[in-house]
């Protein structure tokens, strides 16, 4: 597997992020120069013109036309320069998308998880977002409830997901890796645990992943698992969650097909493990208060059966 990239706007992995990084660096240089000018002037003036107790009043100068024009003119030139640079960068990072082009991926923000849909392959997934390297992808962003915001610093611009509107973003990932991000618009109690994990792969691996996702989960014959399946389908689980190839087809919560093949659960909060799934099922509100999953008061053997079934969904 690939290493997790350190999230930073300077650790870029897409031309979009690089372009933004370039103007960011340019601004940083100009701003530092401006800042140093003010600091040096302040220190110099404070030392040079400190009053001694015996000093008389200094000369009463009230202005200097030339200096005043410079004070306005130089900053004006600087912001004009950055304005044109900004316009140029914007048209490269976020050009309008051509009408009729199907997005490569549709991501929908929910309180507090990401619904992921690949229109070309008609595959639905959740939270962990697999994307191919080297292709310019059109990402469509939507929201199912409140405003969320898509942000992966290494991949460039963030974009709000607004209920009732469709927003678009272009992403071209340049190297494989795991890129971390997060929801960046405060969306309620569990905004903190709405982490993003983009898994960028070379096209062959990506195709293999797509194929494995398209397949139906192979569930081993096992009495505990069978008990879990029956619980899942007849208790309330299936009215919120979908598992492809079964009768579970709820759309409120994340799609659980191939759940156990994911690295993390609860939108980046915990690693996928038997223990974590068991604890989550026994009291969701204790682990992630405010999440939409209610507590069901399952008996311990039911919990074990459900956990066993869910952990087979590779």
């Amino acid at each position: 597997m690939w290493s997790i990239e350190r999230p930073s706007i300077f650790n870029t992995a897409s031309p979009q992020a690089e372009k933004i990084g370039a103007i960011g660096n340019g601004f940083l240089i100009a701003a530092t120069a401006m800042f140093l000018l003010v600091v040096i002037l302040t220190i110099y003036i404070c030392r040079r013109f400190r009053a001694k107790p015996t000093d008389a009043e200094p000369q009463q100068t009230r202005g200097n036309r030339k200096l005043e024009i410079t004070m306005v003119g130089v900053p004006l030139l600087m912001v004009t320069f950055f304005f044109f640079w900004s316009v140029k960068t914007m048209s490269m990072v976020l050009p309008p998308h051509p009408d009729g082009r199907t997005p490569d991926i549709i991501i929908t923000g929910h309180q507090y998880w990401w619904q992921v849909y690949y229109p070309a392959n008609k595959i639905e997934a959740a939270n962990e977002i697999h994307l191919p390297v080297g292709r310019t992808l059109l990402v469509k962003l939507k929201s199912a409830d409140v405003i969320h915001d898509w942000w992966v610093p290494a991949l460039g611009a963030k974009m709000d997901m607004i209920p009732g509107l469709n927003n678009y973003l272009w992403i071209t990932i340049t190297r494989p890796g795991i890129y971390l991000g997060s929801c960046s618009e405060y969306c309620g109690e569990q905004h903190a645990w709405m982490r993003i994990r983009v898994i960028a792969e070379q096209p062959p691996q990506y195709q293999r992943w797509l194929a494995s996702q398209a397949a139906i989960d192979k569930v081993p014959r096992d009495t505990l698992v069978a008990q879990g399946i029956s619980l899942f389908m007849h208790a309330s689980c299936s009215s919120c969650h979908s598992i492809r190839g079964t009768t579970a087809s709820g759309t409120v919560g994340p799609d659980l097909t191939h759940f156990a093949g994911r690295q993390t659960m609860l939108t980046g909060m915990l690693k996928v493990s038997k223990k974590n799934v068991y604890q989550w099922l026994s009291d969701p509100q204790k682990i992630k208060p405010g999440a939409r999953m209610p507590k069901f008061n399952f008996a311990p053997d039911s919990l074990r059966a459900l956990t066993a079934y869910i952990m087979t969904l590779k």
């Binding site: 009463q60 900053p75 912001v79 900004s86 048209s91 974009m159």
Partner: protein
């Protein structure tokens, strides 16, 4: 000024009792007062009360964020605390402090005996105060608002925030907003109608100029907020659908209405402070302000441009490049008149004889801190940078460099400058210097590192965070800085309490200042002025003290 003399005020015709309520008529005198000085002092104490409350709230928040994956606060509590912190600091600390100084000093600086409408003045104060109390009552009524101080739709709708908090947010801010608007009407009329003979607009002290500009800004900006709050109350209480997209409303409409108010609000909280600095720098450099015309003109420019920049809070909402470019241009442009003032003040100090009182130390520190806040502000006007950094800790750092490094530093500077006039006693300079260093160091520790946290991917308003490289350390530094700020603010409040009784006697004009308020007794008598010295320039008191070198005598001289 006739008319004012005949209004019955329940105070005795003797010097005001400083900042204490222990005087001959006791608490009743304060409660019933329509005197601008007492109302001003009450505004200021209100702001001290709320800075302590808002400070405790944020210390709890910083404690929760000190280490990764912390369980000190539940997310529910955390969300209420950061929401109340922001709302409190903006509407019930900075606003009343600014209005307190303005209510106290505008009449004194223009040679008037009171505001144009003294009863309206009291009304404004009580509206503000009860607005604050109403907001805080939410804690007892099932939970404080938990949707952030800008309270985005549709999170602010009943389906997503079902406690009464947001309803109290609406009604509290509406009430306080009425106070703010009526106070601004009062300032405008007072400044335009109650100036002493001879004080033309171009001889107006710069603080008064900024309050005048600011009041127009309030009158134009607050209707947008008040409308939005009323619409939201209708949504929540009567199932209207202004902001709920599920029923055909618009989530973005709230943002437009809120920021159409919200961005001018930022200038509402900084322009008066620019006014305070434009008094402090000249007095403590013993020179006139450099470029009086530019300072006033840039203030007006800021006020006009302030209404054309609100979309820069919404660059990531997908409005498209054309719209974004327009607002990028206006936002970059507004940086120029803001930045130019820094150089005005530097040039004021240049060639002066600088006296480093605590008021001046805060003013000098402001130059550096506000430059940081101003420059990070410019980075948000550059849309691609905004796309990366908006809604991260970088924004949190930026706005605190503006609101603390700008507004609060100015208010503290103003407190050290004007406290002798209000109480008749000096705020202790030696302890004041301790406070200065603790506060400035604490402030920079807290917020400088947050720029880096934002660039490293930490979003704002998260109740906890994963243990990513560097995040824990930087957050811990930030929390320790916050603690230091908390300690220093306690020292400051202690100083305020003790100095008003036991501070050195100040005298009428302790700073050798330039404007009319210093010609009165300290504290001023109930009736501010029996006589006012002639006003022939923007520095009438200096003209009076140095008749041979009076400003008006060199009126004809060209400035280099």
């Amino acid at each position: 000024m006739s008319g004012i003399d005949h209004i019955h005020v329940p105070e005795p015709d003797t010097p005001l009792p400083g900042l204490s309520v222990n005087n001959d008529q006791g608490l009743i005198q304060w409660l019933s007062s329509v005197d601008h000085k007492q109302i001003g002092i009450m505004y200021l104490w209100l702001s001290v009360l709320f800075i302590l409350i808002g400070g405790i709230e944020i210390l709890l928040v910083r404690l929760q964020l000190a280490v990764p994956n912390n369980h000190f606060l539940k997310p529910e509590a955390f969300d209420q605390l950061f929401t109340m912190h922001g709302t409190t600091m903006i509407f019930f600390v900075l606003t009343p402090a600014i209005f307190g100084f303005a209510t106290y000093f505008v009449p004194l600086m223009i040679g008037a005996n009171d505001m144009a409408f003294p009863r309206l003045n009291a009304f404004s104060f009580w509206c503000t105060m009860f607005g604050g109390f109403l907001l805080y009552f939410s804690f007892l009524a099932g939970g404080a608002p938990d949707t952030g101080w800008f309270n985005y739709a549709p999170l602010n709708q009943y389906n997503y925030s079902s406690s009464k908090g947001v309803d109290y947010y609406c009604s509290g801010l509406l009430l306080a907003g009425i106070g703010t608007v009526t106070a601004s009407v009062n300032f405008i009329v007072t400044i335009l109608r109650r100036r002493i003979a001879g004080m033309e607009l171009r001889k107006l002290p710069l603080f008064v100029w900024m309050i005048l500009i600011n009041s127009f800004l309030v009158l134009a900006a607050f209707p947008s907020l008040n409308a939005a709050l009323a619409m939201l109350l209708l949504d929540r209480q009567m199932h209207a659908h202004f902001f709920g997209p599920a029923a055909g409303g618009s989530a973005l409409l709230w943002q437009h209405l809120f920021w159409l108010f919200g961005h001018p609000e930022v200038y509402i909280l900084i322009l008066p402070v620019f006014g305070i600095f434009s008094e402090v720098f000249p007095v403590f450099s013993r020179k006139p302000i450099f470029g009086y015309g530019i300072v006033v003109g840039s203030g007006i420019a800021i006020a006009l441009l302030a209404f054309g920049v609100w979309i820069h809070h919404m660059f990531a909402t997908g409005l498209g490049n054309t719209v974004n470019n327009f607002f990028a241009a206006s936002s970059l442009l507004i940086g120029v008149p803001t930045g130019v003032k820094i150089f005005n003040w530097l040039a004021t100090m240049h060639g002066g004889k600088i006296r480093f009182s605590v008021a001046m130390m805060f003013a000098v520190a402001f130059l550096v801190e506000f430059t940081i806040g101003g420059l990070s502000g410019i980075s948000f006007a550059i849309v691609p940078i905004d796309w990366q950094l908006t809604d991260t800790y970088y924004v949190v750092a930026h706005l605190h460099y503006v609101f603390i490094g700008g507004s609060l530093f100015g208010l503290i500077s103003g407190t050290f400058y004007w406290f002798p006039k209000m109480s008749g006693r000096m705020l202790d300079e030696k302890s004041g210097k301790w406070f200065f260093w603790l506060f400035v160091i604490g402030f920079n520790l807290t917020f400088l590192v947050q720029h880096a946290l934002g660039a490293m991917g930490m979003p704002r308003r998260v109740y906890t965070y994963p243990d990513l490289p560097g995040w824990g350390t930087l957050n811990l530094i930030s929390s320790l800085g916050g603690l230091l700020m908390g300690i220093s603010v306690c020292l400051f409040v202690y100083l305020l309490f003790t100095s008003r009784k036991s501070g050195k006697i100040a005298g009428d004009d302790p700073w050798d200042a330039n404007t009319l308020e210093w010609t009165t007794a300290s504290p001023p008598h109930l009736k501010n002025f029996k006589h006012v010295i002639p006003v022939k320039s923007a520095r009438p008191f200096r003209d009076f003290k140095r008749p041979d070198d009076a400003d008006w005598k060199r009126e004809g001289e060209k400035d280099e």
